[in-house]
């Protein structure tokens, strides 16, 4: 009696809210599709190689944490991690510093040819940076920066400047004029106005640029593939690619290795997903 009552109430509720329920079902279903490859990758990375060959859907008998240890040591991921962190930090810091200064000047100073200069910077948004790789390779070779993490970072900084100048100049443009005028009267230099007065006011732009450059540098494999040669200077993606080539059928190790490179990105994303989304939807033009 009670159960039919509950059932009737449930049906009534469903009738009233069926559109909502259907909406959530669709949204959750697509969410599961999105997550599926990651979950499958994590799931399988804890199995032994034998278990993987016995079936894709059977759960691991015990959690083979060992896969991660083995992937880490055999793939030399320690060195790769360190290299990628160096390149990423250099690129993010360099891009932010150079392009916020340039964006500030372009947005708030009037001089001959200022608009043309802005166009010059934005022209870089039109093409995939990869097409410039051949002369870049030769240039870095002549500068003795080939097979060098600093040279790689220089390329990333250059390639990130069009987008970040675009973001910074837009943010600086809409700050009220009075702030700057007050600072000028107080006798602040141009550099101090930029660094101490205006830069703290464009924190969202800093976050946007930092996340976009981080994702671009961390994820890219094309530039390191051409510009890095020695194994001890490999970036994470290059290391993962080499690891894949060496342990072609040992999927337990490969998936563990892939997950190792995914973890930092997902970790940052959980804390700053809003900045990631805003930045990358804006920076989609890359």
């Amino acid at each position: 009696m009670l159960s039919t009552n509950v059932l009737r109430q449930f049906l009534h509720w469903l009738e009233r809210r069926h559109k909502r329920v259907f909406l959530y079902i669709l949204l959750i279903a697509y969410g599961l599709i999105t997550l599926y490859p990651l979950l499958q990758g994590v799931f399988t990375s804890f199995k032994s190689l034998n278990e993987i060959y016995q079936g894709a859907l059977t759960p691991p008998s015990t959690m083979h944490w060992h896969n991660y240890v083995e992937a880490w040591t055999r793939g030399g991921f320690g060195v790769c991690f360190w290299n990628t962190i160096i390149v990423t930090v250099l690129s993010v810091a360099g891009t932010i510093f150079f392009s916020s200064m340039a964006g500030y000047v372009l947005a708030r100073h009037v001089f001959w040819g200022d608009n043309a200069l802005l166009m010059y910077f934005l022209a870089g948004l039109m093409l995939p940076y990869r097409l410039a790789i051949i002369p870049l390779f030769v240039l870095l070779r002549d500068l003795r920066l080939l097979d060098n993490l600093f040279g790689l970072a220089c390329a990333y900084i250059g390639s990130s400047i069009p987008f970040s100048v675009f973001i910074f100049s837009n943010y600086f443009r809409y700050l009220p004029k009075e702030i700057e005028e007050a600072a000028i009267i107080d006798g602040a230099s141009v550099f101090r106005i930029y660094l101490q007065v205006l830069l703290p006011l464009v924190r969202p732009a800093l976050a946007t640029v930092a996340t976009v450059v981080f994702v671009w540098v961390w994820n890219d494999v094309f530039l390191p593939l051409v510009l890095i040669q020695s194994p001890e200077k490999r970036t994470l993606m290059l290391g993962l690619n080499a690891f894949f080539g060496r342990y072609l059928n040992e999927w337990n190790l490969i998936l563990a290795g892939a997950n190792i490179t995914l973890i930092p990105v997902i970790f940052f994303y959980i804390f700053a997903s809003r900045q990631f989304i805003e930045g990358l939807v804006l920076g989609a033009r890359r």
Partner: protein
């Protein structure tokens, strides 16, 4: 005032130098290299338009170029269709009024877009593996054993499979692009349509879709540059040669092989020929982008 201007220009300088040196100079230099037969070392010899002639007339090279070009075009076309159908549908669901957990769904859908393509591609390579992969096993377990395929290994299916994975990775971007467009349409227009007696579908068809035109054109433009520059995910899925038999070869992988070669063909066609490929692709991308920009400027709507 003069010293202020000078110090302002000083602040501009580092960015200007880096950009000119590592972006503009290489692009311009590509044009110069494309007129030489340079292999990377030794003197450069000026050979006029020979590289361009050869690119379009050499039977092997031109065949590979047009094949890569058509695959890139297919990827662009298919992902655009995917974006319009699935992206738009999910964007409308996500933009539903008073939706609980919108931020959560948004973050979830966007996640694949920010993941490293190489790692994401390797995970998919496992899933699509014909012998041990999970996709075939899932199909078998739900009684669709006949659908099990050697996905990435089959000549007919490799390209559609690659496109599927590519769309899975890009989907979040498409959805959020359209969602932002939908949310920027003022509610007053929807209400006006409602007062006039529109159904929800009529509201979408006559009010919201026409107003989404600029969003759509912007998306197509980004997707165009993205698809024609795609490298990392394809490299991870089917390698630098676009296995099997070049059926998944695209412009970026073709460009890489032409300039730098592969293990079996060490020097490719030389840096001069590689630069010629880069110039042809760049010219194509820039001219089509200009068309998009013009169309977009004409389609702007004022609310």
């Amino acid at each position: 005032m003069k010293t202020r201007r000078k110090s302002a220009l000083l602040l501009l300088l580092p960015g200007f130098i880096f950009y000119s040196m590592f972006v503009v100079y290489p692009y311009v230099n590509s044009i110069c290299y494309s007129f030489t037969d340079w292999m990377g070392v030794g003197p450069k010899k000026f050979i006029g338009f020979s590289n361009y002639m050869k690119l379009f007339t050499d039977p092997l090279l031109s065949k590979e170029f047009w094949r890569a070009f058509s695959h890139s075009t297919i990827i662009f076309g298919a992902s655009t269709i995917f974006a319009v159908i699935l992206g738009l549908a999910l964007a409308f669901l996500l933009a539903a009024p008073r939706l609980k957990g919108r931020g959560f769904f948004r973050a979830l859908y966007f996640l694949p877009y920010i993941l490293p393509p190489v790692a994401y591609g390797f995970v998919w390579r496992y899933i699509l593996n014909p012998r041990i992969g999970s996709l075939n096993e899932i199909l078998k377990s739900i009684g669709l054993a006949a659908w099990a395929q050697p996905w990435l290994g089959s000549i007919e299916l490799a390209l559609p499979t690659v496109i599927g994975v590519w769309c899975m990775k890009q989907a979040g971007l498409y959805i959020l692009f359209f969602e932002a467009g939908i949310l920027s349409i003022p509610n007053i227009l929807r209400d006006a349509a409602l007062v006039d007696g529109c159904t929800r579908w009529q509201q979408i068809w006559y009010v919201e879709l026409p107003l989404l035109k600029p969003t759509f054109i912007t998306l197509v433009m980004f997707n165009f540059i993205n698809s024609f520059g795609a490298f990392d995910l394809l490299f991870a899925l089917t390698g630098i040669e676009g296995r099997p038999l070049g059926t998944t070869d695209v412009l970026a992988t073709f460009f890489y092989r032409t300039a730098f070669g592969t293990t079996t063909h060490p020097f490719g066609w030389g840096l001069g020929m590689g630069a010629a490929v880069a110039c042809v692709v760049a010219l194509f991308l820039v001219s089509v982008s200009f068309v998009f920009i013009v169309i977009r400027q004409r389609s702007y709507v004022e609310y």
